[in-house]
Symmetry: C2
Subunit: 412 residues, 2 copies
């Protein structure tokens, strides 16, 4: 089955927004084995849209439209498709009810143009809009299938994932359902991960394994197809254990997990509090923790010790340490972690000291970083990083490594 | 002149990347008055690309291609256009020289497939690639114009802005050049700004005024067209002064400026140092300063005082203040700012205390924030914010307001 994705909206042609809908839909279609050969964007213009429809019918089996389902005069996707296919529009009562309910809930009067949103192509199957008013729909005629989706990504994405993809599977007469699981790794590069799993990736057909790298992390999307949800789950579980045997130590979470989210959950479960001494990261680590609602059960606070004078005067790093080893050293990282823990009376003290760049600091090239951790009755310890990014790349990578070491220490 | 933007690359159809190039080019074309009626994406497939070219020639005067100019076998945009138009490819010696120079500079051996990148359509005008190897080009035949651009946005954007837009102006036989200036505002909403400038925006034809809102900021893009660069500059200056008369107090910078960048420059020029006490922002303010290379000339450091105990024990906020007014109060903000200034021996102390959300804190709804500033011999002062965003929206908006007040105080 070959698909063309058609985005309708003059705002795309004026460059006011990027067509991220086409990317999202293409990614989902690739997962279920539908070829996408063309993306087309066209404005809110019936004649040009009609020409686009005719042309797409010549080269695709499945036409997926985004945008133009709203209440205003500019929204003409349904009307134009109806005319082009010689089909009339009819009211979808379920959609109409939910539009009325929406206006009642927000206490506003429904203007008549909103009724237009409940119109669907006669004979089509509506797709429920869980995050907005206009329903989507699936229509079939003369061997072609047409899927209409709303334009706002916040409505389109859940509608397509939840109802659109299963509809595509039905169109393809496939009985299988698709189950995906994303495994999230940190501390290993994409090429290393792929090399370690090469044999597994080559061998695998169901589930498939798709690696993706970004922002210092690597993810693997495992996608299983099977008629039974339970069997698909089992297939995913089996593949995950095989992957864990090779690179399990780098696996920190699933799907929408973040390193700080996983770290926060671990510390919260164990009832541990944390304080940080941050030099090059200058608050970025603590801010990553505070980005999570409920952070106050873990985060005491900390010190941004950007200057050596602050390391000395506020965090009591010994003069000899700074003189003999410098601020970017194992010794300084360890004192910072231990002393911020004492000062803030927290269970864990963590410290970050390093050269963000772009300039070197004496002999130390940009990307030289030490992370110190003090906790429990053990000796405080420090980890050295050698990063190769930009100034802010190095700073945010350092924060991720901080979480990585905390997760490693506490996940057992 | 009507344009169609054609993106070539299977990675687009697989959903691996979004077509942000089409957005960027459309925005620039809208500024110079070129209508864009279609965006098309097609894969690395000569037959389908050729069909797309033929179809676009029927409906557009100007065909702009992105992608497929690189060295690999997949890169076939030039070859396919050449075949479709019956034109041959020839070596652009200048491009070849700069490709050779690149390989010498990085000390790698040039593989022969890189020569392909210096091929251009015979009779075309090359567009220089200042950030990569493959040149772009402009070609004209049978009343149609063809512009070929590289795919990576880091190469395409500067090439199109610097060489592509002037080439489009020449194609349109326009002698004018386009001069744009972006004015950046903070502390005023988009609708308020547009209302304040309504008469001016309606009246204006050259320069034009285009407002854009995002991330708590509003920008106005002023675009002047004139044959003389000096006259265009004068037109922009005159319009800017008119705008300043109405909303000048919210204007903080130009073009690529950021609030923290402008604030940092001001403090650095005046030789002032800064320390921060951060509760809800938890280091985000200090991190925004440390994101700038050279921040150490201004930033001493600071304290993340997430817990009241830290406000009390590390920053010496008086017990009575916390008891009588609470941590989220003018009084607490002022003590935090004054005390962090003393502790860190900085010229300026700034503090942030508030309710990030999503939960209220006692009577105080999420978004209630106090920012304190202590500097010079004046009384420390505090500003109240009432924000309506998400938890992290409120946190980052608070940081921007911190810079906004610092810029206001120090720009005189």
């Amino acid at each position: 089955m070959n698909a063309e994705i058609i985005a309708v909206g003059s705002e795309l042609l004026l460059g006011q927004i990027a067509n991220t809908n086409a990317q999202f839909i293409s990614e989902r279609l690739a997962e279920v084995g539908v070829n996408v050969f063309y993306h087309t964007s066209v404005g809110d213009n019936p004649a040009r849209l009609e020409e686009v429809i005719k042309h797409a019918e010549e080269r695709a089996d499945l036409l997926i439209f985004t945008g133009g389902l709203g209440p205003t005069k500019d929204d003409l996707t349904k009307e134009t498709i109806a005319r082009s296919l010689g089909v009339s529009l009819s009211m979808d009562e379920e959609a109409m009810d939910s539009i009325r309910a929406y206006f009642e809930k927000v206490g506003r009067v429904m203007t008549p143009n909103n009724e237009k949103q409940a119109l669907i192509l006669e004979g089509s199957v509506p797709l429920k809009n869980d995050f907005g008013m206009a329903p989507g729909m699936v229509f079939q005629q003369s061997g072609k299938a047409y899927i209409l989706l709303p334009g706002p990504p916040s409505e389109m994405r859940p509608m397509f994932s939840t109802y659109g993809v299963p509809a595509v599977m039905r169109l393809m007469k496939r009985k299988e359902v698709i189950h995906s699981r994303v495994l999230r790794f940190f501390g290993i590069g994409e090429s290393q991960l792929e090399a370690d799993l090469e044999e597994l990736i080559d061998r695998q057909t169901n589930p498939t394994i798709a690696p993706l790298a970004g922002d210092g992390e690597v993810t693997l999307r495992l996608t299983a197809k099977h008629e039974s949800k339970d069997v698909a789950e089992t297939l995913l579980n089996e593949l995950e254990s095989e992957i864990r045997q090779t690179v399990g130590e780098y696996l920190y979470g699933y799907d929408q997990d973040s390193l700080e989210g996983v770290g926060f959950r671990l510390l919260k479960e164990k009832g541990l509090t944390l304080a940080a001494a941050e030099s090059l990261t200058a608050g970025l680590f603590q801010s990553s923790l505070a980005s999570i609602a409920g952070a106050s059960s873990v985060l005491e606070g900390g010190v941004v010790c950007y200057q050596d004078s602050v390391k000395r005067n506020v965090l009591n790093v010994r003069e000899e340490t700074l003189k003999n080893y410098g601020a970017v050293s194992r010794e300084c990282a360890i004192e910072l972690a231990a002393n911020v823990r004492t000062l803030f009376k927290s269970d864990i003290g963590i410290s970050f000291t390093g050269v963000a760049g772009p300039e070197a600091q004496g002999d130390l090239p940009p990307g030289t970083v030490w992370i110190g951790i003090a906790s429990g009755d053990e000796e405080p310890r420090a980890y050295k990083l050698t990063l190769a990014g930009s100034r802010n790349g190095n700073r945010s990578r350092t924060v991720k490594y901080g979480w990585h070491y905390l997760v490693k220490e506490y996940k057992a």
